[in-house]
């Protein structure tokens, strides 16, 4: 598949100057990154690392001091490019004297949408963000989180191919945060390209495919999230509650096989986010009155699926395809590897004494831990079975 980047920066530098044109702040220095169609790209960094400045340059709000930017193969100031972009700024920046409908209507008009299309989209977006019952209230009366939802709705009014979200969950309640993350996942499934800027790492981790970490306006690390975060030297196994003898046996196996006492046993806790969402969903199910946000609806159906090919076809700039660059790992990131061998050894330990393997042992030995805490008992059974056999010998 042709994977020309939607965003490409080369040597991007932004230096803010003082009144006498002396360099005051180097906000972004020699920044190079690319965003490819269909991916969720995270721009990470602490406060003041240059994330927002980079985004503002992508939108033509700021002009680079040096370097080049192309968005859909064109300069970011090109008006035609902006018709394919949705933008949610770090604060909502909406007109306080307009109500939600008028706000969306204003931005819809700037995309020259017909009245029917605009009306339909506004209605669906308001339903999606759970504010259809507050559509006539002025933005000045909205809470920060509610205004944020309208901000998100305006970013989607044009069914954008490329969505830029700058700190999208700021001011959002956990429900909103979860909804936004779900929305991002859903949009990504539909082939939209998303650039997400945040310093809330859990948000980024939950939704991003690739990230670039900025510090002092420079790239410190960049690559696929799984590659950057995978700790291959550590193995984690989640099981239902184990008895002390079982734990001792496992510890013994590890000591014998891995020649190590370094093992930690604990009970996992539910994530507060999931717990909170469950409680509120129960309240909503009980129809308890609120002047705030109601349960958000499904993704607005006008938000079309845009495959990578469609996006590529629309790219104007001709050129050779650029492959996804190899992940760049900063030198201080620890080397990975070693975890799978431990599991293999445990399996081998189970297999070797027995000539016949039952069907349970053919199940995957290790599986991803689901958020609900559900575990695959076959893994535990195989582990315990192996130990019992050894004890029986």
């Amino acid at each position: 598949m042709d994977r020309r980047p939607i965003v490409k920066t080369i040597g991007l530098t932004k230096v803010f100057k003082d009144f006498w044109m002396r360099d005051r702040v180097v906000a972004v220095a020699d920044l190079n990154f690319e965003v490819y169609p269909g991916e969720v790209f995270g721009l990470l960094g602490p406060n003041g690392s240059g994330k927002s400045t980079t985004i503002k340059m992508l939108l033509g709000l700021l002009y680079p001091t040096r370097g080049r930017i192309s968005v859909f193969g064109r300069p970011p100031t090109d008006v035609a490019v902006k018709s394919r972009i949705g933008y949610l700024p770090e604060e909502s920046y909406l007109y306080r004297f307009l109500n939600a409908k008028e706000t969306l209507n204003l931005y819809g008009r700037l995309f020259e949408q017909s009245g029917a299309v605009r009306g339909s989209r506004i209605s669906k977006l308001l339903e999606m963000v759970g504010l259809q019952h507050q559509a006539r209230r002025r933005m000045g009366e909205y809470s920060k989180g509610m205004a944020r939802r309208i901000g998100l709705a305006q970013a989607l009014i044009n069914d954008p191919d490329f969505l830029i979200l700058d700190e999208p969950t700021t001011g959002m309640d956990p429900i909103g945060t979860a909804q936004i993350k779900e929305l991002i996942r859903e949009l990504a499934k539909r082939g939209k390209t998303i650039l997400l800027s945040s310093h809330l790492l859990s948000d980024v981790q939950d939704v991003c495919d690739r990230v670039t970490i900025l510090y002092g306006g420079q790239v410190r690390a960049s690559g696929a999230l799984d590659d950057l975060l995978s700790q291959k030297q550590v193995t984690q196994i989640v099981t239902p509650r184990l008895s002390s003898p079982t734990i001792d046996e496992i510890r013994e196996v590890i000591r014998r096989r891995e020649n190590s006492d370094d093992m930690e046993v604990s009970h996992p806790t539910e994530r507060l986010e999931h717990y909170f969402v469950r409680i509120v969903e129960e309240a909503q199910a009980a129809s308890i009155a609120t002047s705030g946000v109601q349960a958000g609806g499904a993704l607005a159906d006008f938000l079309s699926e845009s495959s990578g090919e469609q996006v590529i076809e629309s790219l104007i700039e001709a050129g050779k395809p650029s492959p996804i660059p190899e992940p760049v790992v900063a030198s201080n990131v620890p080397a990975t590897g070693g975890g799978r061998e431990v599991l293999d050894d445990l399996l081998e330990d189970r297999r070797s004494p027995s000539d016949s393997m039952d069907s349970k042992s053919q199940a995957p030995a290790v599986r991803e831990v689901s958020s609900s805490g559900e575990v695959d008992r076959s893994v535990i059974d195989s582990l315990l079975g192996g130990a019992e056999e050894k004890r029986g010998e």
Partner: protein, 533 residues
Amino acid sequence: MSKVWTIAVHTVREAVRMKLVLAFAVLIVVLALGLPLMQRQPGASITMTVQAYLSWALWPLGFVLSALAMFMGCLSISNDLYYRQIHLLVAKPISRWQYVVGKWLGVVLVLTVMLIAAGVMIYGMGRFLASGAYHTTWVSVREMYDGGFLLADADLSSLEEKKESTALICNDRLGPRSGSDSCQSAKLSELPEHLDSYVHVYDHPEDYTKLRNEILTARATSSLVMPNFVAQANAMFDQKKDQGLLSERELQTPDKIKQEIFALLQGSFRSIPPANYAEYTFDKIMIPPDERKPDRVLQLRFKAKGMGYASDEALQMGWVFGNSVNAEEYVAPLRKYVMERYHVVRFPATCVAPDGTLNVRVYNLDYLRQGHKGATIAFDAGEGLEVLYVIGTFEGNLVRTMFLIWCRLVLIAGVAVFAATFVSFPVACLLVFLFFILSSSGDFVSSALEFGVKGKGPLGPVQFVAEPLLKAVFWIIPQSKTYNGVPTFVDGRNVSLNWDMMIFGKLVMLVTTMFLMGGCLIFQKRQVAELSV
């Protein structure tokens, strides 16, 4: 264009929702409808009342709407920048020029609606006042007669009561204000007959006629045709020089001497010695041939002074209009005219020749007064002697005057939007205010420049750079007197369509476009976000 319109409508909505329009609307209603209540004066004639109302309603209207244009123009862009709503707008598919022009258009839309509303209110109130419904039949008569004053102040519910009103007859020339006890009370009905002609009752039907003919109308002007006094002045200067009548000092400033001779010749042309007459010609009186009828009345308006007499002396004058050759002749009734005040003498349109010229013979009959040798009568320069004739309607004149105000508002909105594209709200307001000052100080600066040309100006050695620069600035900034139609309108004179078109061309099409293009260019280059790391 739809994006420009979207921004414009949004700007209008912003002004309405932010209560900015409401505040100014209340102010305009107070000015347009409340002013007559405040400026009611006992003794003011209906003509004076209506004229004063129109003047005092239109002048503040222009000022208040200019302030609104300044505030809205500066605020709409500055607010978007300050509250960063511009981040979202610029991220949408809209060009910077569309945004700037949309903002300006929005301001112009608000101003247009408010101007139309104000115009309707002023027209309605003007007509209401002119109907006399609000005007109490005040009689405040202060006319001079031989040797004293006649003063009458009375509130009459009808003209019939006039004779029962009390008058003060004062022998002191300063009247009762002097505090003397030389005044005595008398009923108007008991006045000696020879004083009756001095009693001027303003609510007389004639005053309504005057109102209709001189205020609620649109009169064109024809000025006096002057001989070529420049050539004569030059010739006389040369003659004096040849005869050796000029001193060394006078020869060093020939232009000044020529100016003095020119002024003397003009003054002489406008002067009539006692027991003498002068013939004047007016041209370009544009009356269609089919309207040149006896019942069509034209006006000759003049202001003169009697040389050597007090300003309020009354002198006898005679007027003969037209001539028997190519136009009918009309002799106006003889009467005395108080000096240094404007007077109107009416004559029929048939006195105007088919080529649009009018001959007028003016007689100085002051010598007829017993015991006086007579004084030379001199007409003021400029509007001291002119012919006025109705060329349009009051309504049309009001619309054209409003159009001139609109052109000015459009320009100020353009300047305000231009300023807001590169400076903050308070600085932008200051810039527009500076524009105001410069637009009304052109004459002062021009004279300062002329002074400077002679090497004595405050600009000193940079004069040669500053002069063309300032001239360029004053070309760009139109002088307010060139587009202020209110004095002309209030005087019942025609605000011509040509004037409107000329001002529209310069103020709107040229200067406003120039400012808007400058604003678009600056905004295009401007970074709308700021340091945020």
